[in-house]
């Protein structure tokens, strides 16, 4: 199992950063506001990475760890946890990819619709 939690968390976080802001509300902001937004974004990334870490641990513990007869994870439980975490990161990656696609498509359609509405308004 050659995946690292850190690398996959970064991948997940990348999908969040790459999301496009609605151009109207961000482009016109003064520089301090843009910097403040960037700082907020960074803070959110850290917070969400940690939250995801906790949720993932809880989920894999619930799914994989059964008996409390020993202090250490059994030979069955330990690989189960590794597989559980890896699977979740793979799901996250794929969903993130589709999420990006959908959002990009949706924003293109919204922009096209807005342009069409503006053109129609100008004609009248």
């Amino acid at each position: 199992h050659c995946f690292t939690i850190q690398k996959d968390l970064n991948l997940f976080v990348l999908y969040v950063i790459r999301m496009n802001f609605p151009l109207d509300s961000v482009a016109g902001l003064p520089d301090e506001a843009k910097a403040a937004l960037a700082a907020t974004l960074e803070h959110m990334q850290v917070r969400d990475s940690l939250k995801m870490y906790n949720n993932l641990v809880e989920m894999c513990f619930k799914d994989c760890v059964e008996d409390m007869r020993s202090k250490n994870l059994s030979a069955k439980e330990e690989p189960c946890v590794a597989r559980c975490a890896e699977k979740f990161m793979n799901v996250t990656g794929r969903v993130g990819m589709r999420f990006q696609e959908f959002y990009t498509t949706m924003e293109k359609e919204a922009a096209a619709a807005a342009e069409a509405a503006a053109a129609a308004a100008e004609k009248n």
């Binding site: 802001f21 609605p22 959110m44 189960c80 559980c84 699977k87 799901v91 969903v95």
Partner: protein, 86 residues
């Protein structure tokens, strides 16, 4: 009425920028939450438990793609309903 002073214009611009920043931040939080819920829902519906392997099977991949597509449609429908029922 007198024309607004440069200070008043400046203050108003700052207020508008602050409001736009709050709006952008709120929208960003919404998107992150949406993504998280999408991951969680599709993981529940598609990932085999307990996992036999870490990588995704072909069936799981298709399931996830369809799950995302349907989730997005639900987002659109609910959004429309909420938008028109004010």
């Amino acid at each position: 009425m007198s024309t607004p002073t440069p200070e008043e214009i400046n203050a108003e611009n700052h207020a508008m920028a602050a409001a736009a920043l709050t709006l952008a931040t709120t929208e960003l939080e919404f998107r992150v939450e949406l993504l998280n819920k999408m991951v969680s829902s599709c993981h529940n519906k598609c990932a085999a438990k307990p996992p036999k392997e870490g990588s995704l099977s072909v069936g799981e991949n298709s399931c996830i793609d369809r799950c995302c597509s349907k989730y997005w449609q639900v987002v659109a429908i609910v959004g429309q309903l909420l938008g028109t029922s004010k």
